[in-house]
Symmetry: C2
Subunit: 303 residues, 2 copies
């Protein structure tokens, strides 16, 4: 039986203000986004993805990311990162004084075409100067690999397809990988199969698991990665933001509070403040047009 | 790594019509309950808990259980069971021609007092003639043990408390045990700790795990019991019925479709029909006053 005292402290990357919000269809006012990020800064989380320097035509919700970075109160000890698709985006990110950037590709060609309109190889070539310049500027670089288990167009994605992308990203010099179960279709079995081979290639500290809770398996997957493979990095979204709960294949990111609760219940060391997380999501809720989908968010009066 | 082909076929006990409905506050008309049970009979599930012969003052929703049993179409190969608290209830259950009965106690004294107004020892003494008579009538007997991990009043419940109750129930001659995480507070770690000792005392075939999804850990717990301990029996509720999703500590039973999906995604053999499950819950939804809380139930058009 796994001894939880031998397991690493979970490290959360809060992606609610980016991956979460960009999938919400109601435009959120700048001051609410800023207040949300500021509130997240108080929860004890170490890293907040606060925006994306992408085309505001393609992703309207991320249009005000520069202004978000301009207006947030940066808290000591918290990293503020942003998604960056290309050199132009990097320019804006540098101007905005982000602490870290994230590039993004996928393990499925069809998904990558639909998502960013180029092949995987093309996306990686596009990152080459971005990563080089970011590293010169001493920014950390994360790389998202979407559809690392299942693709909404191609179905099951083989670990070999993920590993091929990992190898290219590592060769570019990225510092960490976020392995995404974009449609929330993976089961712990799939997590085991992928991690068995992935962890032979990269150090476990560089791996972040990025689960969506579409089918209710995100917590099971995270506990498997942590308990059986000592993965400590997890992306999550306050309130389970992201993806309309009524759209097929678009379940939200796993909720930060649900994941934190599950780790704490499993005797993991969790220092996030649940009341402050609730306070952060409460700022957004009146603007969203729906309740937060997280399990803990539905409990009253508190977790 | 666990080889899923070595794992047993999951067996579901559908408790939506009893544990689910009894926690719904809106009275459901008899004909809807009957239609719900009939629709569940078509899903491929082997056992349906269709009612409870308890005081209709204490549990108004179960008041019409006799009429439910009178009016359902019994499907070949499906067992229809009912909760029975005492000899009077057993009389009614026998009259209603149930296939199986279930008695219920708890591992926490305080919870048992609140729930059925007697000590654990008293409840077990009350079951003695019930079980004896049921066995004479060749009915199967299940025993529920609530709060087998956490109690809303006492907090963490020690495995030794559960085992003490198990020993007494086994001595009475019950055929199977339903181990309940009543408030949905257990993590896979707790499941491992309990099963390590429980399975040294009873055969794994007699064990059913009964998880609630209050905090989002039910699927993780079920996959742990199945994948690591070869437990194959699981209670679940179509749609995740049961417990108002907005009341603290009252999360619904894990949804049958979420659990079935997770097992199927884990390469378990699952023969439940998802479309028919959706059809069954769709009959109830207009009467409930809220959407089904299951993950799959929120996806459109289908799982």
């Amino acid at each position: 039986m796994i001894d939880p005292t031998t397991l690493p402290e979970p490290r959360f990357v809060e992606v609610g203000a980016r991956d979460g919000l960009q999938n919400e269809h109601v435009p959120i006012p700048l001051e609410v986004k800023v207040a949300f990020v500021d509130a997240l800064s108080e929860t004890g989380v170490r890293e907040i993805e606060a925006g994306a320097f992408v085309s505001s035509k393609a992703v309207p919700q991320m249009g005000g990311s520069f202004e978000v970075f301009e207006n947030i109160r940066r808290k000591e000890g918290v990293k503020y990162s942003a998604l960056v698709p290309n050199e132009e985006g990097l320019e804006r990110a540098l101007e905005a004084e982000v602490d870290k950037i994230a590039v993004f590709t996928a393990a499925s060609e069809t998904f990558n075409q639909h998502n960013i309109n180029c092949s995987i190889a093309q996306s990686i070539e596009r990152f080459r100067p971005v990563v080089a310049r970011a590293k010169k500027a001493r920014l950390g670089v994360r790389a998202y690999i979407s559809t690392a288990f299942y693709c909404p167009y191609e179905g099951h994605v083989k670990p070999s397809a993920v590993l091929a992308v990992v190898d290219r990203l590592v060769a570019l010099g990225v510092d960490e990988l976020s392995i995404g179960d974009t449609i929330g279709r993976a089961a712990p079995f799939d997590v085991r199969v992928l991690l068995e081979s992935l962890l032979r290639r990269v150090r476990v500290e560089t791996v972040y698991m990025h689960f969506h809770d579409t089918y209710g398996m995100a917590v099971a997957n995270a506990l498997t990665a942590w308990g059986e493979y000592k993965v400590s990095g997890f992306d999550s979204s306050a309130g389970g933001l992201g993806g309309c709960p009524y759209a097929p294949g678009a379940g939200g990111n796993v909720a930060t509070e649900d994941l934190a609760f599950a780790f704490a219940a499993s005797h993991g060391r969790v220092t996030l403040d649940f009341a402050k997380l609730k306070a952060a999501t409460s700022l957004l809720e009146p603007h969203l047009g729906h309740a937060m989908p997280s399990h803990l968010g539905k409990l009253v009066p508190k977790a």
